[in-house]
Symmetry: C2
Subunit: 148 residues, 2 copies
């Protein structure tokens, strides 16, 4: 139900949040998140355009999370990379339904609304709380070579 | 979030349910649901294989719903055409997570679970209850030519 892009982007954000503002190279991020490097570059670009990440090239460069993980929800990330599309008008274009959805599309939209609610209710910070071995990351990624 | 196939299949099932066991030609179904005819044939085949619909060729042929709309949920239909995939194991294949999901994948799976719950809680019969002009169907589809 969630796209590969969403899954990968969430891992990247969780990793950057775990780094407490320390810049991470693409190699470090890839090692911790298992996101393939070509895909990672594309995702970092989208996250950067969406104002969640800042990437800097060069010797001491790397990517950092620019939002506070305590205030950043899973929904905020999904919205940037692969937004949930609520059903606002009749997909059959039946204009006599007016502004109201029929019971089918009302129910489908309700399901999408539940997803939105669940993703809004969890912050990136809560995903990192608790035991380290429960983090959605590979162990010791910071020991990966920092050469990009 | 829901695929085109899911959307179309639900419309087809709602229409067949509205026909009260009267066989419907592909032309009638297409006129009522606005599902393109090539796509419709594929969807009817899937629904038939899934045991929801029976189609018969010939002069007095057509498709009928073989399940009771009062007992058939939206989830039952989705399960046949484009099943929700729950997250049961770590997508990162981190085997030290064991049987438990990390907080990220637990939360994503929780969202998929909410969708499942919402789709399970509505039957096809409830979508057809109430005013005719609120049905997710085009008006007077039964007046469409019955020649296939």
């Amino acid at each position: 139900m969630f796209s590969q892009t969403t899954e990968y982007a969430l891992r990247v954000i969780v990793y950057l949040a775990s780094r407490d503002g320390e810049p991470s190279t693409n190699k470090q991020i890839a090692a911790a998140t298992l996101v393939p490097s070509g895909y990672l570059a594309k995702i970092l670009q989208t996250l950067s355009r969406g104002g969640l990440v800042r990437s800097q090239r060069g010797l001491h460069g790397g990517s950092i999370l620019v939002r506070d993980p305590v205030k950043l929800s899973l929904y905020d990330v999904v919205k940037v990379v692969d937004p949930l599309r609520r059903i606002e008008t009749c997909p059959l274009a039946l204009n006599w339904h007016g502004a109201q959805l029929c019971p089918l599309h009302h129910r489908l939209d309700q399901a999408i609304g539940e997803v939105e609610k669940t993703l809004r209710s969890a912050t990136i910070a809560t995903l990192l709380a608790g035991r380290n071995d429960r983090r959605p990351l590979c162990p010791n990624p910071s020991t990966a070579k920092t050469t990009r």
